[in-house]
C-alpha cells in the first residue's frame, strides 16, 4: 500500500517538485548551489563582512602579502592578533625589507566600528564583522589584510567582497534580460514561422558566428567615458545580453516548433484564445524548465566575458570594481612573481564559474523529471 501511495505521489507531484527532488540527488549541483548562495549572500552584506571600504588605502601596506595572524604572544596564549609591519630600505641596493613590529600586538576584534556604509543601500551603519583595534600599548596603524594589499595599499579581501557585487550580479542580470528577449524573439520566430523565422534565424546564426569576446570588446566602444558606476553597470549588462539572448531564442523556437501543433494548442486556438495568451499561458510553461537550464548554463560565459573585459579595461572601470578590475593588478609576470597573492581573485572567478556549470548540469539532468 505504501508503495502504491508513493507511486501516486510521483504522478501527482508538480514538475517543479519533481525537479527539486531530482536536483537534491545531484550532489555536485547541491554543493554548487550552496556555494553560490554563500557567495551571493556575502556580496549582499559585503560592506559588513569587509573590514575596509572599497577605496580605503594605507601607503605603508602597498603590495604586502596576506597579514599573518598569531595567537601566542611572548609565550602567552592571548587569542588571534596581528602585528604592525615595518619597512626598511637597504641604502646600498635600495631593496625594501618588510618586517613585523614585535613591540606591541593588535588583537582582532569582532563587530568593530569602521568606514560608514549603508546596509542594503539605505540603513546607515559603520559596523564591520571584524577588524583590528588599538595596539596593546595604544599604538595605531596596524591593518588586517587577509588576502594582502594591492599596489595602492588597499585590502584585496574587502575588494573581492565588494567587487563580487558587480561580478556576480551583472551576469545574472544579463541572463534575465536575455531570458525575456530570448522568449520574446524565439516565440515570434517559432510561432509565426515563414519569412520572420528565416530572418530571425539568420540573425541568430550571424551573431553566433562572430567570435564572442571580440564582439563584446567591440560593443564596449559604446560605453561613453567618465560615466557613473550605475550607468557602467547598465551598459555592461546590455552588452552581455546582446549575444546571450540568441541561445535562449534557439531553445524557445525549437520547443515552439515541436509544441505548436499539439492538440491542446489547437484546442485553445479554436476556443478563441489570443495568440499572446497561447504563448504565455500554454506554451512557455511547458518548457520553462529547459529555459532555466539554458539560462543557468549561459551565466558562466557572461562571467568570463565581464571579467575578461574589465581586466582589459574595456568593461567596468575604476573606481567601480569587479573581479576583472582586481586582476588588472596581476597583468605582468614580474608583478605576479613578486606578489603572488594578487592572483587570489582568480580563485573566486573559477569557483563561481565551476559552480554555475555544475548547477546547470544538475538542472539539465533534473529538467526531464520523468526520465
Amino acid at each position: 500500500m505504501a508503495k502504491k501511495k508513493s507511486k501516486e505521489d510521483y504522478y501527482l507531484a508538480s514538475q517543479w517538485t519533481l525537479m527539486a527532488r531530482k536536483l537534491k540527488k545531484h550532489k555536485l549541483a547541491r554543493v554548487s548551489f550552496l556555494i553560490l548562495a554563500i557567495l551571493y549572500i556575502a556580496a549582499l552584506f559585503a560592506d559588513f563582512l569587509a573590514p575596509y571600504g572599497l577605496e580605503e588605502f594605507d601607503g605603508l601596506y602597498k603590495n604586502t602579502a596576506p597579514t599573518n595572524i598569531y595567537s601566542v604572544y611572548e609565550g602567552e596564549h592571548i587569542g588571534p592578533y596581528v602585528l604592525k609591519i615595518t619597512k626598511s630600505i637597504n641604502k646600498t641596493d635600495f631593496t625594501v625589507t618588510i618586517g613585523e613590529d614585535l613591540s606591541e600586538y593588535y588583537k582582532i576584534k569582532f563587530f568593530v566600528h569602521g568606514t560608514p556604509y549603508k546596509i542594503l543601500g539605505f540603513i546607515p551603519c559603520d559596523l564591520h564583522l571584524f577588524g583590528v583595534g588599538e595596539g596593546s600599548k595604544g599604538g595605531t596603524g596596524a591593518k588586517i589584510f587577509l588576502f594582502g594589499a594591492d599596489s595602492l595599499g588597499r585590502d584585496i579581501f574587502s575588494r573581492v567582497l565588494l567587487g563580487a557585487r558587480i561580478s556576480l550580479t551583472i551576469p545574472f542580470a544579463s541572463a534575465i534580460i536575455s531570458f525575456f528577449l530570448g522568449i520574446l524573439i524565439g516565440s515570434i520566430s517559432g510561432y509565426f514561422g515563414g519569412v520572420t523565422d528565416i530572418i530571425i534565424q539568420r540573425i541568430i546564426e550571424v551573431i553566433g558566428a562572430v567570435p564572442q569576446i571580440p564582439l563584446w570588446m567591440a560593443l564596449s566602444a559604446a560605453i561613453p567615458p567618465g560615466i557613473s558606476t550605475i550607468k557602467m553597470y547598465f551598459y555592461m549588462t546590455l552588452i552581455l545580453s546582446f549575444i546571450n539572448w540568441t541561445g535562449m531564442a534557439r531553445v524557445v523556437r525549437g520547443k515552439f516548433l515541436s509544441l505548436k501543433n499539439e492538440d491542446y494548442v489547437m484546442a485553445a486556438r479554436i476556443s478563441g484564445v489570443s495568440t499572446w495568451k497561447i504563448i504565455w499561458k500554454h506554451l512557455v510553461p511547458g518548457f520553462m524548465s529547459y529555459l532555466i537550464v539554458s539560462m543557468t548554463l549561459g551565466i558562466p560565459g557572461s562571467i568570463v566575458g565581464e571579467t575578461s573585459m574589465s581586466y582589459l579595461g574595456l568593461g567596468i572601470k575604476s573606481p567601480a570594481t569587479s573581479w576583472g578590475v582586481l586582476l588588472q593588478e596581476a597583468s605582468s609576470v614580474t608583478d605576479i612573481a613578486s606578489h603572488p597573492h594578487k592572483l587570489i581573485p582568480i580563485i573566486f572567478v573559477t569557483i563561481t564559474v565551476l559552480a554555475y556549470n555544475f548547477l546547470g548540469d544538475g538542472l539539465r539532468d533534473a529538467a526531464d523529471p520523468y526520465k
Partner: protein, 356 residues
C-alpha cells in the same frame, strides 16, 4: 575514385551551390552588424580624430578634413554611409584618392591608431593568426578524439572520470586566467615567462627551420591556454555522441555478425560520431578566435587580438570593426567548409541534396 565521382554528382553540386548562395545573406548580415558596431561611439569618427590630433597640438587643415569626411560619407544618411562603406570595401575605383594613395581596390578606410590603411594593418597579422589558430585546432582534435573514444568505451572508469574532471575545470577557468597562472608557473620554474610568439632573433631573421624549435616552445603555453577549453568541449560532445551511438541497434547487428568490438567502435560508432563533430567545426573556430583575443594580450602574442585592443582603446572603430568582420567571415567560411565536408561524410545529406 568513388569519392571523386561523388564530387561531381549533380545533387551534390546543387547542394554546394545552395550553401554558397546562402553564404551571401550571411555576409550581408555580418557587415550590418559590424557597421552597427562601428557607429557605436558617440560623435563622428573624423571629428573625434581631428579633435584628438588638436589636443596633441597638431593642426589639421580644412581641406584634409573635408576630403576625409567625403571618404567616410559622413554627410550622408546612415544607410547610405553603410552602402558606401560596403561598396568601398568590395571595389574602389582607380580615380579615388584612396587608390592613388594605397594602390588597392579595397578601401577598408584609414586606421588612425596605426596611421595606415586598415586592410594593411589587418593583413599584417592575418596569416600568423590563421596559422596559430590552425595549429591549436589541430592539437585540439589530435588530443581530444582519442580521449573521447577512450572515455566513451570505458564509461565510468577512472580514466573517464579524470578526463571529465579535467574537462570541467578546463572549461570553467577563463582562458586569460589560465594564461596568467601558466605564465607565472613558467617564470617560477624556468626563469622565463616564455611570452610572445617570436624571440628578438626571430623577429629579425624570420622563422626558419633552425629556430622552429624555439617557436614551438613559445607555442606551448598558447596551445595549452587557448586549446584546453575547446579540447574539453570536443571531448564532452564526442563522448556523448559516442555513447549515443554505442547504444544503437546497428551495433548489436554488427556484434551478432561476429565483428570484433574494436572494429565496431571504430568503423561504426566513431564514424557516426564524427558527423556532429565535423559540423561543430565552425563553432570551435569561433571559440578559438574568442579565446585567443584576451590570451594574446596577456601572453603578448603577435596575433590580431592585441591590435583589436589597441584599436578599441583609441576608438579606432573602422579597424576594430574590420578585425571583427574578418574573424566572423573566417568562421562563416569554416562553417561552410564543414557543411560541405559533412555532405561528403554523411550519405543521408549527400543523397537528399541537403534538405536539412
Amino acid at each position: 575514385m568513388e569519392a571523386l565521382k561523388n564530387f561531381f554528382r549533380k545533387d551534390l553540386v546543387q547542394y554546394i551551390i545552395k550553401r554558397i548562395l546562402m553564404f551571401i545573406p550571411t555576409l550581408l548580415l555580418i557587415s550590418i552588424l559590424v557597421f552597427f558596431v562601428i557607429q557605436l561611439p558617440p560623435g563622428d569618427y573624423v571629428s573625434a580624430h581631428i579633435s584628438a590630433l588638436a589636443s596633441e597640438g597638431e593642426l589639421v587643415d580644412a581641406d584634409y578634413a573635408a576630403s576625409m569626411r567625403a571618404d567616410y560619407g559622413l554627410d550622408l544618411p546612415v544607410w547610405q554611409q553603410y552602402i558606401k562603406w560596403v561598396k568601398d570595401i568590395i571595389w574602389t575605383p582607380t580615380d579615388t584618392p584612396y587608390y592613388r594613395l594605397y594602390h588597392s581596390h579595397h578601401n577598408w578606410k584609414f586606421s588612425f591608431a596605426y596611421g595606415r590603411d586598415v586592410w594593411s594593418v589587418i593583413n599584417d597579422r592575418l596569416g600568423i593568426t590563421i596559422g596559430v589558430t590552425a595549429i591549436i585546432m589541430l592539437f585540439q582534435y589530435l588530443v581530444s578524439l582519442p580521449i573521447a573514444v577512450y572515455a566513451s568505451t570505458h564509461q565510468y572508469s577512472v580514466g573517464d572520470y579524470i578526463s571529465s574532471i579535467i574537462g570541467f575545470i578546463g572549461t570553467a577557468i577563463p582562458n586569460f586566467i589560465l594564461a596568467i597562472v601558466l605564465m607565472y608557473l613558467s617564470y617560477k620554474w624556468t626563469g622565463s615567462a616564455n611570452v610572445g610568439l617570436f624571440s628578438q632573433e626571430m623577429l629579425l631573421n624570420g622563422v626558419h627551420l633552425y629556430n622552429f624549435g624555439e617557436f614551438l616552445k613559445r607555442m606551448i603555453i598558447p596551445i595549452i591556454v587557448i586549446g584546453t577549453s575547446g579540447t574539453c568541449g570536443i571531448i564532452r560532445s564526442v563522448r556523448a555522441q559516442m555513447l549515443d551511438e554505442v547504444a544503437r541497434q546497428y551495433v548489436l547487428t554488427a556484434r551478432a555478425k561476429g565483428v570484433s568490438e574494436g572494429k565496431i567502435v571504430m568503423k561504426y560508432c566513431f564514424r557516426a560520431a564524427m558527423n556532429p563533430t565535423v559540423s561543430g567545426l565552425g563553432g570551435v573556430l569561433s571559440s578559438l578566435f574568442s579565446g585567443s583575443t584576451v590570451t594574446a594580450m596577456v601572453l603578448n602574442m603577435q596575433i590580431q587580438g592585441p591590435v583589436l585592443y589597441k584599436a578599441l582603446q583609441s576608438q579606432d572603430m573602422y579597424l576594430a570593426g574590420g578585425i571583427v568582420m574578418v574573424q566572423a567571415i573566417l568562421v562563416v567560411v569554416g562553417i561552410l567548409l564543414s557543411d560541405i565536408a559533412l555532405a561528403f561524410l554523411d550519405p543521408r545529406i549527400r543523397y537528399s541534396g541537403g534538405g536539412r
